[in-house]
Symmetry: C2
Subunit: 454 residues, 2 copies
């Protein structure tokens, strides 16, 4: 028995049928040369038979119901490994489309609270002889970034490595870096409470500093179709684009890769909203988690992570001008943060996300202006090719959490020379989510053309 | 908007993550001669494109959360048919074992309350070129018997019939027959309340009548591993045996087919419990729903349904003596019911199942003697071969509901010349449920030998 910190239990308390609180990742692999038809099954059997499970993945809530009991973790001493690690297959014709359909279903169902809060699915039946692994982990156990990192740590850069260990066999790195801990949401919402004594004067000073740098303030984002109450079912879309495409646009326009990513997302969101006759006059605002190393934070040995509110310029038709506005907004946000202490950064970030805390109250999402329209998060991944038991990782697509008022989320990660985008949406409120992939592709082409690259 | 009767809403109120309140059915089909690889996909596409959905399957709870709001049904005017009807496939090697594994997972996840409460899964990838359809429907919509009947009504006895309608396109028969309505549990628990004024004298008279006929009384069943608090995950096992095997034993021993079914289940339960060193000294008691046509009920045009508590004689080692005791217990129960009016039958049945009403109170299942050890239910099905778009129905296996204190359920149905058994269990408390199939087979062989049939 182990006391469950409030930063863990809040994710269990916030969870309901409509708000599953797990993060997911879909990994796509190419089988090694000469792999037989039973390749995936044999990897699976080996892992199941070994049944080695790290301590973190044996933890389950002491009491599965919503009582004080869940303030404790218990260890599952009779872990049923074949419950957690499963085999599945795609129906014909076995395209990525069928894989995303299946991933959507898995991502929309709750984890069983009587057991350690994770599942891994080995998926056969892709028509191009590849296979996939979808993993979901409760946010009370690991935040999205840590989960992705763990999935990465289970891979090797050596294609000849065999008998490799699965993510659940590994001890994850420290869940909480020195500067705070947990996910951004965890840290800033937690700290918002701690800093209640920080006083309204400090808040005023900070928001005025924000105004000076023309950084959007929370609660000024327009209401959109993405900012409504959500249901429990999910849609998931995923695709990869070469990092080089973004880098070239950045070079030609003197912007960062992340600016170009945001401008691509902005173009796609704009097209999607136009298609649904739902583009608001005011520009959409994205919450963008950024890593900011201030001198003070560096001395502390950690990274300061802040939440920048970025003007997505979706009311701007011209792709080049859209990119310029986004770059200016991000740069303003970073400059603002650069002049602040890590504690001030966390406080300002807390102000940015704090209205989310109200979202579980029924109706709030439907009747108030959103703090921002969506989260767009870019998580660094491996710089070269990586392998699992000889199978090459072709892509790893993050599947994130939707909340009331936050019906869509874009999270991407770099993998070798590609950027892998995962878009998670509420099935009720975000129809035809797959169209977003087409729109991303169009937006990237438009930016390429606007940057004067052939 | 339509008022939701309490008999519907009680199943929504009773439901939790640990107690999904849906019933299911797994149908196994042989494709018609000359069917191509895309046979299942093309049937699926036809149904999806037609998107005809009967009124019952467009009903969803007005408010998906546990409030008074759920006392109303709303109609889903934008039903998302591809959410409800899905395609799936089995991983290699595509045996029945993989099919049951997948069915177990589906049966253990909650239906989405934002939508009409049903799902149908078309399953490809069976290695013998067959395919399967798994359907789940919330008990608030249809009870198990009605759901099976509806699945049956969608079939034809004509193998050349094509363009057939799916169950969700059909108008189901009356949910509630004249004598009461809803499932047995619904009817008897509902009536237990209505008859509160019937008085303790009547109750005493009835329980004394029960004693005279050596019928077990509720709350006298021993505690077993099946009578504990349950988790949300399920195991499902299914297999068919020829009706003729049971009929021959019945003829040779002067017992009914249902007596032989119960004796086979008893033998299997005994072996399973011995294997787990968990066989109690006292005999297990089964709750057996039976159809009893009394003269009064017949005049009323309906069937009286009663809940007989049957002594399963699991403490008897000899199969022949076990069968004899079971036959005597069933016959005693029926004789007792034969002398009662339909209202008295319902009252006695209510007494038999009423302690179930306490089971949602945490801890009750773990600290009290069970009303009975499990439900064994035998539902009549089609007498000849049936087809769906030319595909022959090889088996239809009912998947039922588990409750706190009722961790396992056996429901069977007749199909052409076979008896199709579906066993549903809590994954936590009933390990290696598939072994039960082997034990059923052994028990049937032992009864055959004991009856002196070669």
């Amino acid at each position: 028995m182990q006391l469950m910190p409030i930063t863990d239990s809040m994710f269990l308390l916030m969870e309901s049928r409509e708000h599953p609180m797990h993060v997911g990742g879909l990994q796509l692999f190419t089988k090694p040369d000469g792999a037989g038809d039973d390749y995936v099954e044999s990897i699976y059997r080996d892992l199941i038979e070994r049944a080695e499970v790290a301590r973190l993945f044996r933890k389950r809530p002491m009491s599965p119901v919503n009582t004080l009991g869940q303030a404790f973790w218990a260890e599952d001493t009779e872990l049923d490994i074949s419950y957690h690690v499963r085999r599945s297959a795609l129906p014909t014709p076995g395209r990525i489309r069928e894989l995303l359909e299946l991933t959507s279903r898995w991502h929309g169902t709750l984890l069983d609270r009587h057991r350690p809060l994770w599942e891994t699915h080995f998926v056969e039946g892709l028509s191009d002889n590849r296979f996939a692994i979808y993993t979901k982990v409760h946010h009370a156990l690991l935040d999205g970034v840590s989960a992705l990192r763990l999935m990465q740590n289970a891979l090797s850069d050596d294609p000849s490595a065999r008998d490799m260990r699965a993510p659940w066999e590994l001890r994850p790195g420290k869940k909480r870096p020195k500067t705070g801990g947990g996910s951004l949401l965890q840290r800033v919402t937690g700290l918002a409470g701690d800093f209640a004594g920080f006083g309204p004067t400090a808040v005023r000073a900070l928001t005025e500093a924000a105004r000076e740098h023309s950084v959007p303030l929370p609660m000024q984002a327009p209401r959109t179709m993405f900012n409504v109450s959500i249901g429990g079912a999910r849609r998931f879309a995923a695709q990869s684009w070469p990092i080089e495409s973004f880098r070239r646009i950045g070079k030609a326009t003197n912007t960062t890769v992340n600016d170009v990513v945001l401008a691509t997302c902005s173009g796609a969101l704009r097209d999607y909203l136009i298609e649904h006759r739902a583009l608001p006059d005011a520009s959409l605002t994205a919450m963008v988690p950024v890593s900011l190393r201030s001198s003070e934070a560096a001395a502390d040995g950690g990274n300061a992570i802040g939440a920048i509110l970025c003007d997505l310029a979706t009311n701007e038709q011209d792709p080049a001008r859209r990119l310029a506005r986004i770059a200016a907004s991000m740069s303003g946000g970073k400059k603002l943060f650069a002049g602040l202490s890590p504690l001030q950064i966390l406080l300002l970030s807390a102000l940015n996300v704090s209205p989310l805390g109200l979202s579980p109250i029924p109706g709030v999402a439907d009747h108030t202006r959103p703090a921002f329209n969506l989260v767009i998060s870019n998580v660094p991944g491996p710089k070269g090719p990586t392998y699992f038991n000889g199978a090459r990782l072709d892509g790893v697509y993050p599947a994130s959490i939707c909340l009331d008022g936050q019906a869509v989320n874009i999270t991407l990660t770099s993998n070798n020379d590609m950027l892998d985008f995962g878009i998670t949406g509420c099935r009720n409120s975000v129809p035809h989510l797959q169209r977003m992939l087409l729109h991303l592709d169009t937006a990237l082409s438009e930016l390429t053309a606007a940057a004067g690259i052939s």
